[in-house]
Symmetry: C2
């Protein structure tokens, strides 16, 4: 197998387009130079439509988790109370970050695979007027659930004065998001998902409401102090050394995103989701999420013991050069997840489904070759 | 001018070797895959000789500052006392990080351009037995001083029970460093200097003494919690998503470092320092640092008002495609700094000196063309 033909279909990191790789080969430049300053300010500006905001978007050298932590440490103090919506591993991460800082995290938990509904949140907030922030996960990567953040935001606004802080890491750039209009106060994402970049950058925007809290809040952190990033961006620079080569890549990935257009990108991801789900259903495998809350970026399947998902993944990788993801947390070894996000097209979905069918056959599962492919084709042919 | 022939001679980021750029073009892989796990563990292992340690080296997705903060937040608690050796902007940064966490930072300050001597430190520690950590900067990037960390470490050991925590960002990989033998407890560096990589990775190693403190210390941070990195490395992985493409680059830069050999790399940097200093002196310009404490990676020059260093830098950049650095902090606009670090050879120094001479002439400074070049040649010719 050609190592460079590896088919990476995990929910991040996602494949890097050749144009973006090429852009990252730009000779190194000084991070305090005029050239870099212009590049940095312009790329930050061009991220705004992806967030659906008029606010500045800050770019951090770090993993998505660094920006999740920024959302906590810049808004809350020890003993403050927060509600954390936990529908999987990344909701749980928000809760753990809160607890690390001595913040009281009330977990609104739903079974993994379910979404947190507006009704659940409204009821949960009823007796918690003291809560200063509500943390939500837009796409819960560990289950493939797209939580209804638009409706959740509305509930937060109606039922409390809390800030609404959202992890958009594994969907922003592939789903609709109107941060300002919906009333999201802090929104975070990472580079290695729908933005088609390597890992290493995190992004964050904050509402005017959030900035009032942030400016009044003495963040204990230095590297993650949002006020330093705001002050520096006003001077067209960064407080600490930025990840220069990734910013060159970001410029090119934004070119690609603007050429295709966000509405079209969102439709492409919905199509890939629908193809994947149709194929999985045609193969008789149980999807983990309801149609209504199915993420356009990742699909989770729980074979419920019919076969070993880890054996399936090994076969896909070893025999077909295709990589999909396994389960996280208590679902480790029990489910598999197919990423269809970023530099990925409908025909790529057909390829993965085809390899999936063959691998299922090879591990002795009950499957008829071509069934899933046909179902995916039927979805696709109506769109092209 | 060819944009891709930009000559970047600042003290970081430094130019990326084509081999390293090529390596970073490796197709993206999953960060939890066996392939990446092997790559990550092996590259971390190969960093040990650069640190001069048998301890594990941790790789963080972030700027150097994130790892400086790790050195603080994992070892100290609010109200603890620390001594911070401040010989320039980066010593000052250590002090500011301490203060952000409510740590009492006793600054042992020397004029910018001077080194902190063992005698000064010994006297300063005399009446401070309560100090829990001493923070030092190996190469102070803002002045080009190489502080005598080996001797400073000895003083810390003799005069106190404090941990000795060192910022090696702008020299590690280009100077001798024997972390274990000298008694450094935490040592930090970044990717964009002598390691010839883009910005975006930070590195940290800790002694057994330091680990006792770290394990007993409740770090308030999540992303910068060293215990999480230690636990994950034992499982051959990282706690949060690593910067995958930079790790592919690191593997190749380590190949280059091992092919040339650390002793030879150190000699090359000393030679480039000696050439640069000889040229600057031949041109009658005042060096900022004494020979004894001159860093092999960056040389600072203070024209003391004879001409405007910013005008010099503009001319170098605009007419000759050469970028050097200006001053930081109170030296902004008053000095210039030439980086000679990483992917840089003696002939590159000649080029920069030549462009420097012409630019000096072009801004009307009193200089005879060729004087500096000749002095640099004389140093070089005795070495090849």
């Amino acid at each position: 197998m050609f190592a460079d033909k590896l088919i990476l279909r995990i929910p991040g990191p996602t494949p890097i387009p050749p144009r973006v790789q090429q852009a990252m080969n730009h000779p190194m430049v000084g991070h305090r130079s005029g050239l870099f300053s212009n590049l940095f300010v312009k790329t930050a500006e061009r991220l705004k439509p992806i967030f659906g905001t008029e606010q500045d978007v800050y770019i951090i050298a770090g993993s998505g988790t660094s920006a999740l932590e920024m959302g906590v440490v810049n808004t809350l103090q020890p003993q403050d109370e927060a509600v954390v919506l936990v529908s999987g591993a990344f909701g749980e991460r928000f809760a753990k970050i809160c607890e690390r800082y001595g913040i009281i995290a009330h977990r609104l938990e739903v079974p993994w695979g379910d979404a947190v509904t507006p009704e659940l949140l409204a009821a949960y907030l009823q007796d918690k007027p003291q809560v200063k922030a509500v943390f939500a996960t837009y796409c819960e990567t560990s289950t493939g659930v797209l939580n209804p953040v638009r409706e959740l935001a509305q509930v937060v606004r109606e039922k409390s004065d809390a800030l609404f802080i959202v992890d958009g890491v594994s969907c922003l750039g592939a789903v609709e998001c109107q941060m300002d209009e919906w009333g999201i106060d802090i929104l975070v994402t990472g580079s290695q998902k729908a933005l088609m970049l390597p890992t290493g950058l995190a992004f964050l925007a904050a509402s005017e409401r959030a900035w009032k809290v942030i400016e009044a809040n003495q963040a204990p952190s230095f590297y993650l102090d949002l006020r330093a990033y705001r002050k520096s961006l006003a001077d067209r620079t960064t407080p600490y050394t930025p990840a220069v080569s990734l910013i060159f890549g970001l410029e090119e990935s934004l070119n690609m995103i603007e050429e295709e257009g966000l509405p079209q990108i969102i439709k492409r991801h919905e199509l890939m989701r629908d193809m994947t789900r149709a194929a999985i259903q045609a193969l008789g495998l149980p999807l983990m999420t309801a149609d209504r809350y199915a993420a356009p970026t990742v699909t989770s399947v729980n074979p419920q013991g019919a076969f070993d998902p880890e054996q399936l993944r090994k076969t896909l990788n070893g025999k077909h050069n295709v990589v999909i993801a396994g389960g996280q947390g208590h679902l480790k070894g029990k489910i598999f997840r197919i990423g269809h996000m970023g530099y990925c097209e409908p025909l790529d979905v057909i390829t993965v489904i085809s390899a999936l069918e063959m691998s299922l056959k090879q591990i002795g599962a009950d499957v008829e070759l071509g069934t899933g492919v046909k179902a995916a084709q039927e979805v696709l042919i109506n769109h092209v």
